[in-house]
Amino acid sequence: MSTQATMTPVFPTFEQVFQGFAGQIGMLRQMAPKPTLTDDVRVERAIDTLIAETNADEAVWLESCIHCGQCTTACHYFQATGESKYAPMRKMELYRRVYQREIGPFRWWYKLITRPIKLQDLEELQELVYDSCSECGRCTMVCPMGIDTASLVHHQRSALVAAELVPPELAALHAEQKHMGTIFGASAAALMKMVDTIRDHYGVEIPVDKPAAEVMVLSSAVDLVANGNGLLATAKVMNHLGVDWTICSDGFESANFGLLSGDMSLWKRQVDPIVAAAKRIGAKTLVIAECGHAYPALRWNPMVKGEDLPFDMVYMSEYMGRMAKEGRLKLSPIEGKITYHDPCKTGRRGGAFDEPRAVLKAMDADYVELPSGREYNWCCGGGAGIFLLERATRLRDESFKIKLNQVNATGASTVVVSCASCRLNFEAGRVKNHWDKEVASLVELVADHLIDQPIAAGEGVRA
């Protein structure tokens, strides 16, 4: 390992990151675990999962649909393809059938008039709840009944986990995280290696495993195995703020393939070490890396009692926004017209709208809101793990055109995103469409516009 401190870039550009990533994703398909259970058991487990996860909320939503068709207006996959099977209302049909046959008040009747669920039904469901629903929640915004289709889709993902019907790419990463605790091999050793590289080549310190710190920062596999600039930027920002921060080698991964695949127990299990580490070091704030689904995985995790936690969980953009509002981020002005894409998971399904905009304001940006912005933002088409699915390429590419036209309509030259998955999907769309826009990550943009010299970690004011 080189010990020479130099500012020559050693990390690849994001375009190279994206290309390298595409190769790695290809390998996932071969690594996917094969089903081990009999067909009957798989069906039974799927049904049992849906029964177990159905509460009054789900029952009411399943009862409420009147087939008014308005959700089709809101769904990027339906709008991009015009194909009826992608209508959001159809993504809950199988769940409704299970509900009506097993739980609903007229189940004795529905057992007579509806077909039992077969494995083939579940196989067909896979495309509807993985490939063609990013759980973005936009259909809920138009539904006159306010049905939360995204959460119904999520329960069906859980059922498909039980039925061993997770798409291969997600299944491979799910298995890796479940059995090895890593994603794309991003182990604690990979973290240490990246930290060393950043120190040696950029002279930027990343405090790892401090016994106590005010702020605990998470990283993500994308940053550790491919996009070193992400972690580098995070470190620069934290050091600039001069807060007492650390990364814990026993709880650093933001990404959660329990949540993405629909495996509730793995979702919870991945969160536990992070919470334990944050408690151990006495953190007041836990900063989640720019990894969209990590926000609901941690901040909005329904299984972790928030009132008992001695710390706040905030998204990277949220944290920087708060610092910007307090005047603690000193940023140089940014050139050109800028727009911002709200990741579904931090925007409509997360509520962190104002903070990223406050960061851009602190850079004196010529900021323009996307048409259909904020709560009404269109998904980029790659959320909820869909970016990883080769089979969903057409759906992603077609639906991205909605995003592309939206950004074009603003006249902005740069679109800022704050989610690694969105960013990879934007990058794919940019390359495929020879798009003349720049796609930037919020944290990397901020790191590039920090004014003063970075303060060594732990020496400055406390958070």
């Binding site: 909320d57 009411v60 009147i66 087939h67 138009v142 306010g146 299984m303």
Partner: protein, 216 residues
């Protein structure tokens, strides 16, 4: 027992019993289920309460979706309001309600009743035309068509009886009452239950998004 006596007697009474019992059974069957707990900390301590706004705010689509939803929203409003007025506003209906409950109120002039009934029927036809013309959007199932038919029939037969068109008045009236009886029986098992569900469904989503600080 004549057809009219059957319609006015056991048919409508039993259908009402099925309607009420069925609605209660279906509502209770769902509402007694446990509520899932979201243990995460709300964005604002009292923010969740704001979620109840969705019950009202969702009565009209957001400006974001105006173009796509305008036709259907306006027609649906015409249909719901006109139907409600006719159901409780014309003399024979008020007399029927009075026979059951004792309550009574002034009726609309007959001509106005016919006009509003016609509006209800025309808007209902406008809605089914759209459903039929855009099958990919509506993904209709058999229940959608049965429900439409069973809602349209009382409107058609009621207007015919009121205007003395078709068979003998007594027969027409009997057919009208029987069509209502069929509608009552169908109601608790069909999507017509949305007249109750909408409150719960909107409130639930409003609350779960308000929990995260999002206004839907």
């Amino acid at each position: 027992m004549s057809l009219l006596e059957f319609a006015r007697g056991p048919a409508i009474h039993w259908s009402l019993i099925i309607l009420v019992a069925g609605v209660i059974w279906r509502l209770l069957g769902v509402l007694v289920l446990t509520r899932g707990a979201d243990l995460s900390r709300p964005r604002d301590a009292f923010g969740n309460f704001k979620g109840y706004r969705t019950v009202f705010s969702r009565s009209w689509p957001s400006g974001e979706f105006t173009t796509a939803t305008r036709y259907q929203t306006i027609m649906a409003y015409f249909f719901h309001i006109a139907t409600l007025i006719v159901v409780v506003g014309i003399t024979p209906h008020i007399e029927f309600i009075q026979s059951l409950t004792g309550a009574s109120w002034p009726a609309l002039p007959n001509a106005l009743g016919v006009a509003i009934g016609t509006i209800a029927l025309v808007s209902l036809i406008a809605l089914i035309m759209r459903r039929l013309s855009k099958p990919k959007v509506y993904c209709s199932n058999i229940g959608d068509y049965i429900t439409w038919l069973l809602v349209a029939t009382p409107l058609v037969t009621g207007l015919m009886a009121f205007a003395h068109i078709g068979p003998r008045y007594e027969t027409m009236l009997a057919i009208h009452i029987l069509s209502v009886a069929v509608l009552f029986v169908w109601f608790p098992f069909s999507k017509l239950m949305h007249s109750f569900w909408f409150i719960f469904s909107r409130a639930q989503s409003g609350l779960s998004y308000a929990h995260k600080g999002v206004r839907i």
